[in-house]
Symmetry: none
Subunit: 221 residues, 2 copies
Amino acid sequence: MRVTPTRVVLADDALLFRQAIAWLLEQHDFQVVGQVSDADGLRNAVSALRPDIAVIDIRMPPTGRLEGLESAVELRARHPDLGVLLLSHYLESHYLPVLFGANARGVGYLLKERVTGIEAFVEAVTRVAAGGCVLDPEVVDLMIAARSRRDPLHTLTAREREVLALMAEGRSNQAIGAQLVLTPKTVESHVRSIFTRLGLAPEPDDHRRVLAVLTYLRAHH
Amino acid sequence: MRVTPTRVVLADDALLFRQAIAWLLEQHDFQVVGQVSDADGLRNAVSALRPDIAVIDIRMPPTGRLEGLESAVELRARHPDLGVLLLSHYLESHYLPVLFGANARGVGYLLKERVTGIEAFVEAVTRVAAGGCVLDPEVVDLMIAARSRRDPLHTLTAREREVLALMAEGRSNQAIGAQLVLTPKTVESHVRSIFTRLGLAPEPDDHRRVLAVLTYLRAHH
DNA sequence: GCCAACATCAGGGGTAGCCCTGAAACCGGG
DNA sequence: CCCGGTTTCAGGGCTACCCCTGATGTTGGC
C-alpha cells in the first residue's frame, strides 16, 4: 500500500559504510536516491534530488573537518522540510544549539556505538523523515547540561538562591543562618545542595564555595 | 632683579586675617592685587586681575559653606595656569580628588595649625605660584589612603596578587601550591597576608576568602 | 490519597583552611 | 653594612566548612 517510498540521500566519505547503510535501508523499503562523499556533493544532491531525508555521517577526528555538521546546519536552514539524521562516533556539543535552532522538527542525532539494533536505526530514519525528532539520550543530557550552564541558577530552589546570594556577599555560614533564621546544620545542608545542583563535584583542586559564588555573579552580570 | 612681582589674590571672609596675610606677603615681595570675602568676589577678581595665584581660606564649620573649595575647583578648571593655595582649619577629604583632577600642578593644600613658620608659608605660596604642588603631609596620607581604598590590590605584593588571582578562579590552596610550586604552608602564609593587607579582620560573620575574591573582581571590573 | 520535591534539623566524622610563632634566605636602599 | 620588606617554609592547634545518613513536616501535582 506504500504509494511513494521515503527518498534518502546518504552522505559519508567511507564508501563501504555508505554502501552498507544503503543496502540496509533498501531492504526496509527506503529508496536511496543518492550517495555522496563530501559537503559539496551533499548540497548538490539535496538541491537536485529533493529527498525526504539526508542521513549524514560526521567523520571528523583526526582526519576530516566538521563539514558534515556545518552542512547539516546549512541544509536545515535552506530546506525546512528536509529531515536530517546525523550519525557520529563522538558527541560534538558545539554545534548542537545552532543545529536545532528554533525548532527540533525533522532532526536526529545518534551516536554510532549506541545504536542498539537495526530496527532502532530504521525506526529513527522513519521518524526523522516524517518530521520527528530522534536524539540519543546522551545528546539530551548534554543539551540540558548546556541549558543549565547558561542559567545554572534556575536549577536552584528559591531558598538555595537566598543562601547563595548571601554566600556571594562573603558571609559565613553562621551569618547566613542568623540572617535567614536557620540552624547552622540547615545552612550546611543548603550549601551542599547548591554544590551538587551546580554540578560542582568535590575536586581537590577546587574551592567550590568560591566557584559557586563565581557562577552566581556571572548569572547576575 | 625681580622683573614682575608675583601677583596674589586673597580670599577670606575674615578681614583681619586677610589683612595680616596681605601684609605678610607684601613684606616678602609679593603683590597683593586683590582681596575678596566670598566666592563671587573671588571669581570676578581672578577674571579681572589675572593673578598668578589665589590664596583661599576655606572657612566652613560651623557657619560657612564649602564655597571656598567649590570655587577653587571651578577656578582650576577655568584657569589652568592659575595657582591655587588652599588654607583650612580642617581636612576636607571629599573634594580632594576632584580638586586635583588630572594633574596636581599649581595646587596646594595646607592645614593652618600645621604651618610651622612664616618662611614655610611664603615658600609654599612661591612654589604654588610657580606651578608646583604643596600638600600637607596629612593630606598626602589621606589621599593614599583613599587610593588604596579605591585600588586595594596595589597594597599587595606581586606574589600575593598571583595567589589571589588563582583564588578568584575558585582554586583550592592545594591547586594554587601545585601551580606556583609552593608548599601548602606557604600558600596559607600568602593567603593570611592577603587577608590582613586587604583589611579583612577575622570576623565570625565573614567568609574572608570570598570577600578577598570579591575585592579582586571589583578591581578588575 | 500518594509520591516527589522541598525545607528543616540532628548526629557524627574528616579535613581544608584558618590561626600563631618563628626562622631562614634574599634583596634593595639609607 | 645592617635593616626593612619579601618570599619561603615548619610546627602545632582550632574550627568552620565540608562529607554522609536519616528523620520530620509541608507542599503540590497526578
